[in-house]
Symmetry: C2
Subunit: 427 residues, 2 copies
């Protein structure tokens, strides 16, 4: 650190940071070797190339302080790498979504007490608004001039929308063969949607290259990933607070990179450490689609070796063939007495309709996967149906409408007369 005017710090890389730019965060800490790096746009350990994670010096935080906060993720700002005045900076104000008691689905599956944490009602209709809001804060504090990501869907929407609202230039990279509706759903927010001739891996590689070459580009899931990933903790905080400040017994969470699952687990541990909830065992379950199930496959083979796969599933938002946090997912699910399970595309579709018909929640394929896995966990006896369970719905059905378009439709088509209606037998 160099000398700087009061209230400011200059990092070794020459970035001018205001005091408290990252709230109570203390450093970036390697998840593998524990090496610490100063807070900044870094994501890989310089010692061992392990993933960097934000660590904190938490002050005392009370339930009352949190309850007095805004009705979005910033009520937990003391537990996130964001400044104390974060609410003053325009952002999409995500979070504090519904925790629905799912009595009909519980009855259908034979579970005593079941909740759906419904993130489909976030600003751009997926949990990605949470992580992007944290990445946006980091980008702002690091004076990034461009807010960017490679994505095929939810992340692109969230980045383009958050950037528009924040008044920061966004550049969003997508595979050029992406369906038109998905392109539109990002292009409405940004002038700089870039279609790349290649698959998602090609797009991702290009993003990393640009992040390395260009100064001042914040790629949410590349160079500010440690800050970004912390946003998923808020799912865990909210579940605990909405249950009346206590932890559930079991949670079922979709697994793409695996980051969300590890962060919900981290959130629960932090709440216990801070004395905000009582300690208790929480069994954590991961959900994958069979067409992209490297973590589930390793779990079932009782190995730590996660073999990358080429995804082939309708659950595209979970289709990460080489999940960065897969190994940590295995650790957590094994340690807590949970499991990792997968379901076929037909079971994904069935999961979507099951949730819609029982609870009036229309989820995307990722949620269909999670509900499908919940069902399978019950059927295979892996989930204890007498324990209180939460299932996370991460996104919204209109985004993957085609998945169920051929499954449902009108029960009858009639002439506009009462007699015609009576003859349908629907009276």
């Amino acid at each position: 650190m160099s000398a700087a005017p009061e209230g400011l710090t200059v990092t070794e890389q020459g970035t001018v940071l205001r005091d408290g730019a990252f709230g109570n965060a203390r450093a970036l800490c390697c998840r593998e070797c524990g090496h610490e790096v100063a807070l900044g746009p870094h994501y890989a350990c310089p010692e061992c190339f392990g993933p960097l994670e934000v660590s904190y010096d938490f002050p005392t935080v009370t339930r009352e302080e949190i309850a007095a906060g805004p009705r979005n993720i910033w009520r937990y700002k003391a537990l996130l790498p964001v400044p104390t005045d974060i609410e003053q900076s325009p952002n999409t104000e995500p979070g504090f979504t519904r925790l629905l008691e799912a009595r009909n689905l519980a009855a259908e599956l034979g579970i005593d007490k079941l909740w759906v944490k419904d993130d489909s009602t976030n600003p751009t209709n997926s949990f990605k608004d949470r992580v992007v809001a944290c990445a946006l804060s980091a980008a702002r504090e690091l004076h990034a001039k461009v807010f960017a990501c490679p994505s095929t869907g939810n992340l692109a929407n969230a980045v383009a929308a958050a950037g528009a609202r924040a008044g920061i230039k966004t550049v969003v990279f997508i595979p050029s063969n992406l369906e038109k509706p998905k392109q539109v759903n990002s292009a409405v927010y940004t002038d700089s949607l870039v279609a790349v001739e290649g698959n998602y891996d090609d797009v991702n590689k290009l993003a990393s290259e640009i992040a390395g070459e260009e100064e001042g580009w914040a790629f949410v899931n590349v160079n500010v990933r440690p800050f970004y990933a912390e946003g998923s903790k808020t799912l865990g905080y909210e579940i605990a607070e909405q249950l009346g400040w206590r932890l559930p017994d079991q949670v079922v969470i979709p697994v793409a990179s695996g980051s969300q699952l590890t962060k919900v687990h981290k959130a629960f541990q932090e709440l216990v450490k801070l004395g905000l909830v009582d300690d208790k065992p929480v069994r954590i379950f991961g959900a994958q689609a069979t067409g992209c199930s490297p973590v589930s496959t390793a779990y079932k083979a009782d190995t730590d070796a996660i073999r990358p796969v080429k995804p082939d599933t309708i659950a595209k938002s979970l289709a990460i063939g080489n999940p960065a946090d897969g190994i940590y997912v295995l650790d957590i699910c094994r340690e807590t007495g949970g499991a990792v399970e997968d379901v076929t595309d037909d079971e994904v579709r069935e999961g979507i309709l099951l949730l819609a018909r029982t609870e009036g929640v229309f989820t995307e394929t990722a949620g269909g996967t999670t509900v499908g896995v919940l069902k399978k966990l019950v059927e295979t006896g892996q989930l204890d149906t007498t324990l209180e369970t939460v299932v996370i719905n991460t996104g919204m059905g209109l985004k993957t409408l085609d998945a169920v378009a051929d499954e449902v439709g009108p029960a009858a088509t009639i002439k506009p007369s009462y007699g015609a209606f009576v003859s349908t037998g629907l009276v």
Copy 2:
């Protein structure tokens, strides 16, 4: 009323009601002649055929009581025709959506202080979840066996979802030529989607006929309409509470039947009467699409005679050619010093993109209409840009994606290389 066991009342029609079935509601009162009817499935005055509206005997209600309530519309249950235990009955838990300070849009339009009340993040992504939740409560208290509606879109989604979650049979009537995605978005929730060969007017007429013929059918926008319509008041309550318990100076509201605008106005008046906010002038503006602008046309012609039109606009959720509450909209907008204005379909599209690009909110055509009208009100000097203004966004862009699909897209399509990207000039 007949004799009945303690805690129950039997109405003249033989309906058994539990005490407090409709909360603090006292009667249904004719908006035209003031005649009162007992609370029940009635919508037209038996004396003059005027529309019936719920009237109340409000107790003292404090800000603290409201603030201690759930984070959805039921925090205002004392002001709605619902029982005090309404949260116990499964429903979609709509409301308490974001009130976003829209600094970018304000700057773009030259307004000093502007807010967007964003109802696109409701459970089925439109404000209809609010009204349907109130209709569902009435249907339950009246022991309806079927929960139904005629609709082409948002209302169908909301009814089918709410019915699924409540475990009550739903029957949803749509025109048979409705686009497949809109059919799917309701059919996921219900087995009983009925396609009717005809236009929306034909579907509507059929619904009224069934409501008249069949016992125990609650058509949300027909025979339980007075209860249904009260749900829109919660938009007004939330705006006031989220502003810190005060009224804005100006509000811009879309006009289809006109019900929402009249109910927001009613909500503000109730809050003043209850002493929850200070009294002050609030100018109320109505927004229509030019292709279906009977109220705006009458406003501009300075007449009370609203001439029905055949709708021809992309703003389909506002396309009611003969708006039931149009005359009340005229009264309110004139009395409060507001106005009713309309914009072309091109201006609707422009409004959608303007809101997305400035605030990261992707609205449907109804919201594009409202934002377009806001812009026009500024340009024509009808809106005072020095006064604090709220614009209501009632729905979500994915539902009317086609409206802007040809307007936006990738800025460039490139090979997956850094060089190719640099050559786009987007760096």
